[in-house]
Symmetry: C2
Subunit: 766 residues, 2 copies
């Protein structure tokens, strides 16, 4: 209690955790403060918008406060009368839509440019364009009639003017060997990517989706979205994809899209300092990133909805995400980097448009296998990441990348399906065999069925190993495409087995629903590859509806949506039995971002008291109406980094004050008047003792919307409220007395503590 | 205060609103209650699941309590050990999925059956099938080779055996005149529909979507979902559609789907008494209803998400909605009532697959017109509904239906585009003119362009009038199809104008992007019709993303999604300027269901105090530790119908007790021991005075999760919390003292009070 007699310790805060020695704290004394005749309640408005308080990286935003600030901003615009007000309203709305549209356009362009860059890097092994080093072979030779010879594209020997056949071959061979034959060019690409990432933008490594999930849920990490990260991630991604490592560009594209949107919003001064507004824009950009990565605008929106949990119950945000997605997809289609003028990446042939009930048996088998292997992939990847963290590799990331690229290239050289690019492999595995179109590396050779099955299963298994290690190295890397490739190999293998069985026993009862004519295809192994891919994706990512939509927008296989759904569902069930978290949630748990999984939490009968910090362990501000000095508050703010403090009056809970609000208030008070002994109170003026003008009224600083519950509330409900309301803390009181507090960190810890390796990478320095 | 000395009035509740005379209330006296040696805290568990408390129709469910009960149920299943527990878990999960799958199948079948029934009703004017009265012409003649004459289908004259040419013509003419020629068969259909609805199931009238929105948000109206409503709505809908009135089947199909799901869940004892579980199932069914109505599975899911706001932040529910939608769509496609084996209802020709930038001008014009007319349609419809309510028509609904059907038929006879079925009209308006396919009622006659434009605009205007009156009569009626038809007429008219302009001035600078060859089509009026339809729908329903998805699933016009998006957006903006509510929200406001619009609410600086009922006006339970008698509580519950009461201890707020919990507790206490003077207290045992076993502990009845805020919280935040947390009430306290309370009804009133005619139909007796 504040009675003026206590000393050596500030009487109005009480801490069992303070680690700062208290020797430099002066005795607190009661004394009279002479007001200069003028009453100045310097925080006069009850609703002040604290625009100048920026969050530090690593903190969590206060959703309620940010939303209130945004509402206040809109209200201020709305109150302006006449033409000026109308113009301000228009400008506000138009600015937002401008950012949305430019984001969509930009992401479409970046996505197309990446595809072109990857193609150019691949072609660079062969030669160069006569009229421009930066054209790839297709662009260089465009505009020619079919059959015309392209003279503009020069192989290296032509360019270097080597005329003799012998010299030509020798040079070609030398360049090919040095640049491409086994692995050196791939090593160069991967190494450059790692150097770029390590040197210029460590945040550009990995997929980026775990961080984006955390940011969208309120985590502050602006460094992750900087322009430098944008550039390095895009460049490094192109190099990494061209390096032949087992990785995809899908996840990193979402990160690139978010960086781009953030850059735009800062250039156009749109999101300003408002963190909720910024997050709404980032959600739209993430949807557009998925839209471009898979050519799937609807899938992008649903990904934002399901996986990123990003639309905050707000139809407007979903609509903006949809607009951004569609604009991005349309601009990608307009640029048309693949020359197919189609959004569908892996077009499926229409021939296999009917399916038979007995096929559900191999499909469900595939789904179970996909769930098991997906779960295994997550576990291997986690183990690899933890091992890397604690081994010598942690200090030599570039060497690790170069070494593993060499290993990948060497092993891949042995198996034909590992040697080709993953996207090309997937496209061919999804296609049915058609004699008119030729054979893809012997895949359609009916006499080599068992060899193919062996090769496909081998490819899948090796790729699981590669992917588990690659996803987490110091390069930009997505996990979608490798997962699809693994699943497609397995699916195709199962399809080939079923087909071989059908060929061997065409009259078995199980095949009775097949057409009797043996020349008509009954089993379509290409579609089995799609089922395999969806099962594997279901096991690794644990997505449901957005995955199904992405897959059928990706392949155009609308007629087969029911089996895809079944396989995703079964695979998710199987994988969930071995751990509830998908790959992204696992990484979030390992890095320990303050992110709450959206899944339902069930307690075992505990109440809030189970996680609550009791009032006796909290740092609180005691205010009994006599007030406390600026100095004391200043000490409190300097000593403790908690994001806020409960304020008590006697033993009654007055409210909660945020640390940064308090700090900026103290700073501005001290700027006006450096008297450190000025007194302040948190009591509202009506209740403050008498008309004592000498005491500054700090009650407007109290948080307007702090939630108070009883401590015997079920724990489930507390978790549920944190999940739904984006809270940072809940106070518990009984009869007006503070009994304790729960913060978001407590809940995150509660939900992720069970995950294996939770926090294993938390302290990692990039 | 409870001191035993007050009399003539129950001292521990205080009401300024009681309307029941208080003469029968005995004096309250302090006395000793002799416990029979045995301490029986009859509500022993801290978490009791009150399964036996059913909600009455017209009340609102308590989401937090229902969710807690559902969690508890799952927890109990989870705690069962061994095989038994596993089986229970499997059964629980399998039962839910069985309902989901059967719902999807059933809705697909019902949708297909409705289409067949409508066709049969139409064919009934012509004749009957020889081998079964219930086959329509297509089904009767199926299985024949092309060109073969169908002898199974008999016209009425053949059936009645009239052989002479003269007699045949006469009979045919007589039947045709009596049954179909102008309007009599339509009047018979509409009249039967109205009689069915009025007599057997008044809830089957109208579209049903407003009620479903209210139910999904927590309103209790089980009578609306009964099996009788299902039957009558389906039958009445088929009759109404066949009657030629200006109505669609889309909205009512959603209602039918919900009835079906509810019936199934009761048959399979799945949802049980849990209201949240029931609503999750209904949400999935509603999505499936839209899926079948439009052949649009994704549109169904997004409709559920955007318009019904039905997925409660729960990925699982969305996934179930998706599964149900797809199963429904697939089973509809399998039954194939239209014989096209396509889901796409209005297939658009691919010819118009490119569009020019200048076309944005007429399209934006269409969007503005659509927004204006959509807003007008809502206002006309509201005015018609209010007029009907207060005029003599209110007592003669069947006469009104018959009379208006006659008027519709008579006026429609004059204009060719009004005479045809709306769905047929829309399908043809969406198609481009193709000389090979023939002309549709002169629509493609290039010499009659201006006549066509006049006819189309006339049709649109007349249809607006028809629809505004029809939507709200005592028959099942949807507003989607008429709105599409109005928009398509306008769009086609604008398309024809643009085309005529282009033909007149092919070299004008504005048309410079058109192909120079005049035989190549530059303007596609069919696509203008789609734009018109989306603009009109945007204006009437105010949906965004789900509307766009439904439209492109409906037409297959994926390449044109950008202009459709722009038109929906502009039209919504324009219409929003004349009133924020779409047609469904308007009806909800008129009927005054306790439903909170999801839109953002902005206060003008008010705080919660603005809507709060002050503590002095509340009926509260005072408990100062001496306890109160059962009789007093019983009187309180009998006298007041509020759904709960704050409990005070002295002037400190203890918590909140729900009326039905309290009532069931009192009932069970009285069943055990009819002593009305037994004492109870709401104080937790630890704080209750001493070890007085004679006082029953009612503290477990206190609501576990009542929210307490300070009354100077911004009003916006209070509204926001009601919207996001599905609350029924918030208590306001300061320093532990109750200051007031806000209920959901207060917030609904706050948000809808501004709407014109809010509550105009509230007291309507069906």
């Amino acid at each position: 209690m504040w009675d003026g007699s206590s000393n050596a310790n500030l009487p109005w805060f009480k801490s069992h955790k303070s680690r700062v020695p208290e020797t430099d704290i002066r005795d607190a004394e009661a004394y009279e403060f002479v007001e200069n005749g003028e009453t100045r309640p310097f925080v006069s408005e009850t609703r002040t918008v604290h625009k100048d308080i920026a969050y530090e990286d690593g903190s969590t935003i206060d959703w309620l406060r940010e939303e209130a600030a945004e509402r206040e901003r809109k209200r201020l615009i709305g109150t302006q009368r006449g033409l000026h007000g109308l113009l301000a309203l228009l400008q506000d709305s138009a600015g937002m839509w401008l950012v949305i549209i430019l984001t969509g356009l930009g992401i479409g362009v970046v996505g197309a440019w990446l595809d072109v860059l990857v193609k150019w890097l691949g072609d660079l092994r062969e030669g160069r364009c006569a009229y421009g080093f930066f054209y790839n072979q297709v662009a260089c030779c465009s505009g020619l009639d079919p059959g015309e010879i392209c003279n503009e594209w020069q192989s290296w020997s032509q360019y270097l003017g080597v005329r003799s056949i012998f010299g030509q071959s020798l040079l070609q061979a030398a360049i090919y060997i040095s640049l491409s034959s086994t692995s050196s060019i791939q090593i160069v690409f991967a190494g450059s990517s790692a150097v770029l990432v390590k040197t210029y933008a460590p945040y550009a490594f990995h997929t980026g989706i775990p961080e984006i999930k955390a940011i969208l849920s309120g985590y502050v990490l602006d460094a992750f979205l900087g322009p430098w990260v944008l550039l390095i991630k895009a460049l490094g991604l192109a190099l990494a994809v061209a390096s032949g490592l087992s990785l995809g560009k899908e996840g990193p594209l979402v990160h690139v899209a978010c960086c781009w949107a953030y850059l735009l919003s800062r250039l156009l001064r749109q999101s300003g300092q408002n963190e909720v507004r910024k997050r709404k824009l980032l959600a739209a950009a993430a949807a557009a990133g998925v839209s471009v990565a898979f050519g799937s605008p609807l899938g992008g929106v649903l990904f934002g909805l399901e996986e990123l949990d990003a639309f905050f119950d707000d139809g407007d945000v979903m609509w903006r995400g949809f607009v951004t997605s569609v604009i991005a997809a349309v601009s990608l289609q307009y640029i048309d980097p693949f020359g197919t003028s189609k959004l569908v990446l892996f077009q499926v042939s229409e021939s296999g448009s009917t399916w038979r009930a007995f096929e559900l048996v191999p499909w469900v088998f595939l789904a179970v296998v996909g769930g098991l292997l997906g779960s295994l992939l997550i576990k291997l990847n986690t183990a690899a990441a933890v091992y890397r963290r604690h081994s010598v590799l942690h200090d030599w990331p570039i060497v690790e990348v170069i070494g593993f690229t060499a290993i990948t290239a060497a092993i891949s050289y042995l198996v034909v399906f590992l040697r080709v690019q993953s996207s090309e492999l997937v496209a061919n595995l999804f296609l049915e065999c058609d004699p008119a179109k030729g054979d893809y590396h012997g895949l359609c050779n009916p006499t080599a069925t068992w060899a193919n099955i062996f090769l496909l299963v081998l490819t899948a298994l090796v790729k699981i190993g590669f992917t588990a290690w690659t996803f987490g190295m110091m390069i930009p890397a997505g996990i979608f495409l490798p997962t699809i490739a693994i699943g497609a190999c397995l699916g195709r293998a199962v399809g080939l087995i079923t087909q071989a069985w059908h060929r061997a026993y065409p009259n078995a009862w199980i095949f009775s629903s097949c057409p009797p004519d043996p020349t008509v295809r009954c089993i379509s192994p290409g579609f089995y590859a799609i089922i395999g891919a969806s099962a594997m994706l279901g096991g690794v990512t644990r997505m449901t509806i957005s995955l199904v939509v992405i897959l059928f927008e990706l392949t155009g296989a609308l007629s087969h949506v029911l089996p895809i759904m079944i396989s995703v569902m079964v695979s998710k069930w199987v994988a969930d039995a071995f751990g509830k978290d998908g790959i992204y949630s696992t990484w979030i748990a390992m890095r320990q971002y303050p992110w709450l999984p959206a899944r339902e939490f069930r307690d075992k009968g505990q109440t809030a008291a189970h996680v609550m910090k009791a009032a006796s362990n909290l740092v609180v501000i005691h205010d009994d109406g006599q007030g406390c000095t600026i100095k004391e508050l200043d000490e409190l703010v300097k000593r403790h980094t908690y994001h806020g403090f409960p304020v008590l009056y006697g033993d009654q809970l007055l409210g909660f004050v945020l640390r940064d609000k308090l700090r900026s208030c103290i700073d501005s008070m001290l700027a006006e008047d450096s008297n450190m002994d000025r007194k302040c109170t948190f009591q509202p003026p009506s209740r403050a003792s008498g008309s004592d003008n000498s005491i500054s009224d700090l009650s407007p600083l109290l948080d307007e919307a702090v939630l108070q519950l009883r401590k015997d509330v079920p724990l489930e409900l507390v978790v549920n409220m944190f999940q739904k309301l984006n809270l940072r803390h809940i106070l518990f009181s009984e009869g007006g007395k503070l009994t304790g507090m729960v913060t978001k960190t407590d809940i995150v810890w509660l939900l992720t503590a069970g995950a294996p390796h939770a926090g294993a990478l938390a302290e990692k320095q990039f």
